[in-house]
């Protein structure tokens, strides 16, 4: 029997560059324990565990889910690891959703952690994901790929570096309200513009930090949601899409000839999610968007591709305050991925923050009258995109 799926508990640690107090397994455990307490459940109430675990080369411990299994009380339960690069956390939510929606389980724990700064060689590993024969020798890694995206968007719509800097300023400010955020504070456009050049148009402050910490979410079926003490957030719709590894095919796409432009995958994934959620006008029906944005250049094209505004208009709306609290849509109240990026759980954090907005428990980040909130996750330099829409009711 098909089941409604609700978020009934969440947990996350404080994120920082290097965690000298707790190991990977202990970070996952701390997040799992907080989510269990949040849901009023014990480990015995959890029927299955989904590990949100991206590449383990950063922490330098291969396939670390095996290590964390006991710590998150997964022993004796069915477990699976989900891995779609940066999109992992969103994919973990989609996997957990399927396990409950199908009626197989009543409760599923989604849990993970990451430690991005255990090695100074992160971009070395991020360059290993490209096609070995045609692209790896060209050192495209993730920052250069992010720069290409920014360049394409600037060329198409006349966006400027200052437009991207404005996103950083807004989101670092938002992160002041987020007790878990890694980077936060009042900064100026000039400070962003003056930060070290990496790959045009990207500068240091246009890029996310490498973060360490854990996150967990407990999904339950309708019965579990009814027992839940507070207001649950229901998963109303989800959509995901994959595209070729070759960036050159995404510029002139053979598989999607009708779709042109940077981040076209967001349009496909969002439309699938909206259809399932019954959303027809996202800018009116969705009050909060938690967007996966490791680079400042990604927020505006993502908003446009997901139908929150017309193509090329997001930067102008940014200046008018449309993406702030009280604006058209509150975009990344948490500060987003720009402020905190523990890759394995970054997508999970986006989903946790979106769900908590619907639950009315986002505290200082809370937007008023949230009917729907959206979360995205992006992996493989834009190759994988997933979108999840949360709402306050099941149907």
């Amino acid at each position: 029997m098909e089941q409604g799926v609700a978020v009934i508990g969440t947990g996350q640690t404080v994120f920082r560059s290097v965690d000298r107090e707790w190991t990977y397994a202990e970070q996952a455990q701390a997040a799992a324990k907080e989510a269990l307490d949040d849901a009023g459940l014990t480990p015995d109430d959890i029927e299955a565990v989904v590990f949100s675990l991206a590449p383990t080369a950063f922490m330098g411990i291969a396939e670390a889910d095996r290590w964390a299994l006991d710590y998150v009380w997964g022993n004796g339960k069915p477990t699976m690891r989900v891995h779609t690069g940066g999109a992992t956390g969103g994919s973990a939510v989609h996997a957990g959703y399927s396990l409950i929606r199908s009626g197989i389980f009543r409760t599923v724990l989604l849990v993970g952690a990451d430690r991005m700064a255990e090695t100074p060689d992160a971009q070395y590993f991020l360059n290993q994901v490209w096609d070995r024969f045609y692209e790896k020798d060209l050192s495209i890694q993730t920052i250069v790929a992010g720069a290409f995206l920014g360049q394409q968007y600037m060329h198409l719509y006349g966006a400027t570096e200052e437009d991207f800097a404005r996103v950083v300023v807004r989101q670092r400010g938002n992160a002041l309200n987020n007790p878990h955020a890694h980077l936060k504070g009042k900064i100026t456009i000039d400070e962003v513009m003056g930060s070290a050049r990496l790959s045009y148009p990207l500068k240091l402050y246009d890029c996310c930090p490498r973060s360490s910490g854990g996150a967990a979410m407990i999904l339950g079926n309708l019965d579990m949601a009814k027992q839940c003490s507070g207001r649950p957030a229901f998963i109303k719709g989800l959509g995901a899409v994959s595209n070729t590894v070759f960036l050159g095919d995404r510029i002139v796409s053979p598989a999607h000839p009708d779709l042109i432009g940077p981040m076209l995958e967001h349009q496909v994934a969002a439309n699938r999610a909206y259809e399932r959620a019954g959303i027809t006008d996202p800018s009116r029906e969705i009050q909060v968007a938690e967007i996966y944005d490791p680079f400042s250049t990604m927020v505006h094209p993502a908003l446009e591709m997901m139908g929150f505004c017309g193509k090329g208009l997001a930067a102008k709306l940014e200046k008018e305050g449309a993406w702030e609290s009280g604006g058209m849509v509150y975009v990344n109240p948490s500060g987003g991925t720009l402020c905190t990026n523990p890759i394995s759980v970054t997508g999970l954090v986006r989903n946790i923050e979106a769900a908590r907005q619907v639950m009315g428990r986002a505290e200082a980040m809370q937007a008023p009258n949230v009917k729907h909130a959206l979360a995205t996750a992006v992996g493989g330099s834009g190759q994988f995109v997933n979108v999840t829409v949360y709402g306050e009711d099941y149907l």
Binding site: G60, Q123, R132, E135, S139, Q151, Y200, T244, G248, P254
Partner: protein, 156 residues
């Protein structure tokens, strides 16, 4: 492994990963790499969809049929997107350097390569010369070895 502990911090254990690999390139990439040695860029073509692919593909992503032909790509084309890298990254060339995706004439998809022959000391001026739509041509190193670094783009 060695132990290291700074004052007031928990102990840190140091380690490193090293591994060696040998990657068979397969028939499709193998033919492309052999072409590079002769200073040619070879693309695959699907007669059913009419698509011509770089990098070459075994199967067409639109018709799902096997690419049934090889064509020699033009050594001129259009720059689709580029960046100048100003920072040094582990395993990357010494900055500054330029990388671009270029659609060679007669080919439907864009292929990546370094861009040379540009003064990169002025970032803004360099990016002006790397605008989308700029015509570029392919040049080869003197002694190609069958790697994608055998070719590079220069402004036409």
């Amino acid at each position: 492994m060695s132990e290291k502990r700074n004052k007031g911090e928990s102990m840190v254990i140091e380690d490193s990963w090293t591994a060696r690999y040998a990657y068979p390139v397969g028939q499709v990439a193998g033919k492309f790499m052999e072409g590079l040695k002769q200073k040619k860029i070879l693309a695959t073509r699907c007669s059913k969809s009419g698509m011509t692919y770089l990098p070459p593909r075994a199967y067409c992503e639109r018709s799902f049929e096997k690419c049934d032909g090889w064509v020699e790509a033009s050594l001129e084309g259009v720059l689709e997107v580029a960046t100048i890298v100003s920072a040094g990254f582990e395993g990357s060339p010494k900055p500054p350097y330029a990388v671009a995706y270029v659609r060679l004439d007669g080919v439907d998809t864009a292929i990546a390569g370094y861009v040379r022959g540009l003064d990169l000391s002025d970032l803004e001026a360099g990016m002006q010369r790397l605008r989308a739509g700029t015509r570029v041509r392919v040049e080869f190193v003197d002694e190609p070895k069958g790697r994608v670094t055998d070719y590079y783009f220069v402004p036409a």
